[in-house]
């Protein structure tokens, strides 16, 4: 199809077509540039990951031998941490607390972002500005007061004790990203659906939700990763398996004696918590990147 369109009489050159031959050199150059940059970034970020993976596969005795690739391969570190009650409990806490905080944050942020994107009300900009300011607030400065407060009200070392600060700190970011996503939704489609015979609810669920989904999924993943990775709150506001999340639990791993650091266990635990996040991002990145709304409106 596009082969014909390239010639003189074409009414509307295909959007992607363009003048291939002329743009080719430029294109190749850009491609090489980007590939180079991507390669450097990948190497820099993947080497530490590989290092920790290999470390987790070394026997405890050879953990500190300085070699990159293990001489003696073993899975004993993994079986060790999973037989450890504290680690499985921490995993459960991490998943539970992370999911609940994220769900709450995204739910609340969705309503806020919806209002910001759809309605005109005084102080709209102020809300965005304030939420951004809150996101900049150093968390460490809140840890002390929160510790005391939580001890007083009995939230110390409980799930809600972590869920509340996680949700609070995730909200501004969620509102910010979601309102950017929501702004780009072609809202007149809601009206098209209503003219097509949909109730407002049907118009919302069948047209708007599918269009908002990529934004919501993206926000969910970002927020979940932030909660999942948090260390500051986790280490200060928990103490036992009741609410300790994985990052905090790892820090309290103890070796055979007081003077040995259980490098193998720590590395294995780190791999266990990192890999799912990486997979999650890899799976959803296509969905996130896909310009689902492209082409809805005359442009």
């Amino acid at each position: 199809m596009s082969a014909v369109e390239g010639t003189g009489g074409a009414i509307r050159p295909a959007a992607r077509g363009g003048d291939r031959s002329g743009a080719w050199n430029e294109h190749t150059k850009r491609l090489t540039g980007w590939s180079g940059a991507l390669f450097v970034i990948s190497v820099c970020s993947l080497i530490p990951v590989l290092w920790i993976v290999f470390l987790s596969l070394k026997t405890p005795a050879s953990a500190t031998d300085g070699s990159f690739i293990p001489h003696h391969w073993t899975l004993s570190n993994y079986s060790a941490i999973f037989s450890l009650g504290t680690f499985t409990a921490a995993l459960r806490n991490s998943i539970g607390i992370g999911l609940i905080s994220t769900a709450l944050a995204v739910l609340l942020a969705s309503s806020a972002a919806y209002a910001i994107a759809r309605l005109d009300f005084p102080g709209k900009r102020a809300i965005l500005a304030v939420s951004l300011a809150v996101a900049m607030f150093p968390q460490i400065s809140l840890v002390g007061p929160l510790y005391n407060l939580w001890r007083q009200v009995g939230l110390y070392d409980t799930w809600p004790g972590l869920i509340i600060p996680y949700m609070t700190f995730a909200l501004p970011l969620s509102i910010y990203t979601l309102s950017a996503f929501f702004r780009d939704i072609p809202w007149e489609l809601e009206q098209a659906a209503q003219v097509d015979g949909a109730t407002p609810f049907q118009a919302f669920t069948k047209v708007i939700v599918p269009l908002a989904a990529p934004g919501i999924v993206t926000t969910f993943i970002i927020v979940f990763i932030i909660c999942w990775n948090d260390f500051v709150f986790a280490i200060s506001l928990t103490s036992t398996s009741a609410a300790q999340t994985v990052p905090a639990a790892i820090s309290s791993f103890s070796g055979v004696s007081q003077f040995t650091v259980p490098y193998g266990d720590i590395a294995a635990a780190a791999v266990v918590v990192t890999v799912p996040v990486m997979i999650l991002v890899l799976i959803f990145q296509r969905r996130i990147v896909a310009g689902l709304t492209a082409g809805a409106v005359k442009g």
Binding site: I11, R12, A14, P186, E188, L189, Q191, A192, A193, Q194, V195, D196, G197, A198, T199, P200, Q202, K206, V207, P210, L211, G291, L292, T293, A294, G295, A296, V297, K298
Partner: protein
Amino acid sequence: MAEIQFDDVTKRYADGFEAVKHLNLQVPDGDLMILVGPSGCGKSTALRMVAGLEDISEGQLKIGGQVVNERAPKDRDIAMVFQNYALYPHMTVRDNMGFALKLAKVPDAEINQKVNEAAKILDLEQHLERKPANLSGGQRQRVAMGRAIVRSPSVFLMDEPLSNLDAKLRVQMRTEISRIQQRMNTTTIYVTHDQTEAMTLGDRIAVMRAGILQQVGPPSELYGHPNNLFVAGFIGSPSMNFLPGEIEGDSVKLPIGNVRIPDELRRRLEGGPGGARGGVIAGLRPEHFEDAGLVADRASRGVTFTARIDVLESMGSEFYAYFMVESEQVSSRELEELAADTGGTDLQSTRGGTQMTARLAAESRVRQGQDLELWFDANHLQLFDPDSGRSLLAQAGAGTSTPTPTAGGLQGPS
């Protein structure tokens, strides 16, 4: 039965802007009403009020005799083609077109059959499984049309549905819309900017300007008897020429010469609102000029004058000749607005003269840059009040029969 009736309908937006002012308009059941007017005059707003997408600030809107001011869009049984398509980006073309039927719980087999039928009419068969993002503008526009025609609604609302198509497809789709509308006999309101669409497609045309309805009537009536300067300048392509004039006795003094007012015109002038005296603005349609050499009994019916043809465009079947007439500027707010909207330099007066356009028969031996004897058919002269812009001529009808040009306005002097 779905007659649409606007009863003194006003739309005031939240910021206080009145986009539609006291609109009174009736679209009889099964009719196709064309809505035209410059950009921003409230056409889309009027349409959206019928669809139920905008609240009506004042007045009543009736569909099929029932007041629908408070009725939700889905309960109005309306199909609409949006100005910006509004296709569902996450659905394939097939799903886009079948969405309304699906909501109405029509069985799948029937949906499929109807969608295929519409796709065939709209030449979209090979695109049914694609997403809107992968279609060209024209294809998207056709999908939007398809979404409307798969249903059998009681009212069609179309907001410039053909604006993005190329010339050939536009003609094809125009006849197709006309055929579909007549076959389904669905009451339709059709917004357009295109003169040809307006003149050929509709049973009646409504001309709007700045939220106010200017005139409603069959295309031939708007063409032959425009109510005011605005309608006169808006309907017809190329648009009407305007010259300042003075009525003296039984003739009009124009910069191109004295035109004896034909009896027919005189009667209408006397029946009109202004009476037959004083300064006027005269309207002369390009198609009522002719190369004087080609007209036999020219003295009896019109005025002959000489002009230097500055620019000559050959259309094959005819010539467009542009020339200057020395005159003072005709000034009217309506004409200024019209010029601003159409970007029409042809209405603009330049250096003490007025640029005129004439449509001449292809047989004319006119040459660019040469003087030519031109003839104007006085029977088709239009006269307007320079202050109010209103036509000074009474509607033809009461016993008299004015020669009315055909809808396309292509009739030359016989």
